[in-house]
């Protein structure tokens, strides 16, 4: 049961968005974030919304998944909405009850802030839906590689990420085995209150840690046997190439960015 979890939320596919160079996708997502924070009015936000909708439509990621990605931030959205609704006092008062009042300006700000957060999450989940964690790590390593000059361990960081991604399923499988082994010895993992459950985790975590260290040591030896000696002089099999579609995506994004700026100037 634990074995079937998917890492991240990557959804394999072969849409133009999937095929974009991961570096380009990463940069464009950053541009979207800039766009969202640069937008000063609803018109600008609408431009960003159109951008996200186009992205989702082209990627063929189901709408249900898009809504699902918003689930974890429901509380944040509600909190932001309520806060803005009741604590913005400028503008015409529409409704009042003792200390609480709602103004038209408040409604506008609340809507503005909520759509900004929602679009932020939708835009960045489009990146994770269409890019596998490996490609993402790869893109980060390559984009950050200029930082190597100022002694930032970019390669080591990417290697750690890759190994972590590689071992998560293995360790989950192992956790499953240890849990079964402890259950077979009569430990009660699912019963009792919160403290009992936390205490029940100890006999699972300790063997898991011990075996992880053993694995780490064996892996290090195996890596050394395969001539691993850090990032120096290392080549990569997979080369990333930018294709015409990458340039097209960049141009399109820049157009939308221009649209947001225009909206800021035109509608004060």
């Amino acid at each position: 049961m634990l074995k079937d979890i998917t890492l991240g939320q990557y959804l394999p596919g072969d849409s133009p968005v999937h095929k974009l160079d991961p570096r380009v996708k990463l940069v464009l997502t950053a541009v979207l974030i800039v766009m969202l924070f640069a937008a000063k009015n609803m018109c600008g936000i609408a431009v960003c919304a159109v951008f996200c909708v186009i992205g989702f439509a082209v990627s063929k990621v189901p709408v249900t998944l898009m809504i699902k990605s918003l689930k974890p931030i429901v509380a944040l959205v509600v909190f932001t909405a309520v806060l803005n609704l009741f604590f913005v006092h400028s503008g015409e008062e529409l409704w009042r009850w003792k200390m609480l009042s709602v103004t038209d300006e408040g409604i506008r700000t609340a809507f503005f802030m909520v759509s900004r957060i929602v679009l932020l999450i939708i835009g960045s989940s489009l990146l994770t839906y269409t890019t596998s964690p490996i490609d993402l790590t790869d893109a980060i390593e390559r984009l950050m590689s200029p930082l190597k000059r100022i002694k930032v361990p970019v390669h080591e960081f990417a290697m750690m990420m890759t190994i972590a991604l590689r071992f998560i399923p293995t360790l989950i499988e192992e956790t499953d085995k240890i849990m079964n082994a402890q259950k077979a010895r009569g430990s009660e993992l699912d019963t009792g209150g919160f403290t009992d459950k936390v205490k029940g985790m100890i006999p699972i975590l300790i063997p898991l840690f011990v075996s992880s260290f053993r694995r780490a040591e064996e892996l290090a030896t195996a890596m050394e046997c395969r001539c691993y000696h850090g990032g120096e002089g290392r080549t990569r099999m997979k080369q990333l190439h930018t294709a015409p579609r990458d340039y097209a995506a960049c141009v399109l994004t820049l157009l939308f960015l221009a649209g947001v700026i225009a909206a800021n100037i035109l509608f004060k």
Binding site: E173, R215, L219, R226, R234, T235, M237
Partner: protein, 287 residues
Amino acid sequence: MEFFLDAENVCFSYVNDAEEPPSRTEVLKDVTLRVKEGEFLAVLGHNGSGKSTLAKCFNAINLPDSGTVTVAGLRTDDEENLIPIRSNAGMVFQNPDNQIVATIVEEDVAFALENMGVEPSEIRRRVDEALRTVGMYEYRMHAPHKLSGGQKQRVAIAGILAMKPKCILLDEPTAMLDPKGRDEVMSTIKMLNREQGVTIVLITHYMEEAAQADRIVVIDGGETLLDGTPKSIFSQVETMKNIGLDVPQVTELCYRLKKAGYDLPGDIITEEECAQALFELLTKRGE
């Protein structure tokens, strides 16, 4: 330079720094072992006999306390030789899970070549070739954790093979596999030895696997005890039993029948030989 792998008077001990004063465990005591190019050598010995330690001496993971180890004429104690030695004497370990680095099969096979700084197009070519050789080409885009044990171990072998080593050291590669996986790995190893002339050093606990080698070395208590062809080693049933090792089942069968007074040759190590010998024995009695 006649021998490809050459360990001369090798002594090795593990030092435990955690204890005060540091304790030393002597694992190899004056071991001399020479392996010719293209040979298929099986190393037998029970747990803690030092066979894995010896294998790790051959690719400069372990450096001997005294004595010398050379691989293709290169000394392992010279830091300069590290990469040539390791790319010439690749090592496959027991647990396939703990030696696969990448999240995609073909990326893992490419790992060693990427470390060696090979050109990307050349890496691609060699990775495809290695995956085809071990019969895992169709799985090149799979995630390693979704493969069976035998398949994972074949991916690990492909990862070594991509370096085009002259020799592969295998440290109990079949210990964690089911019979089917064991067959897959053994036939891959034999194919590499027979068809591509790769020198094989196979450390194993399975006598049936050792019987398929050209030569067997038995290590006990950090010393080489026996050295010879499978037939000459397994015909010494008493000696093998005394040091806590087995002989192939068919050898055991013939040994017991012989003890019970039946006239059988003492050097039977394969099922075919055994069947033939029994057939002859039975037809003789029938007459």
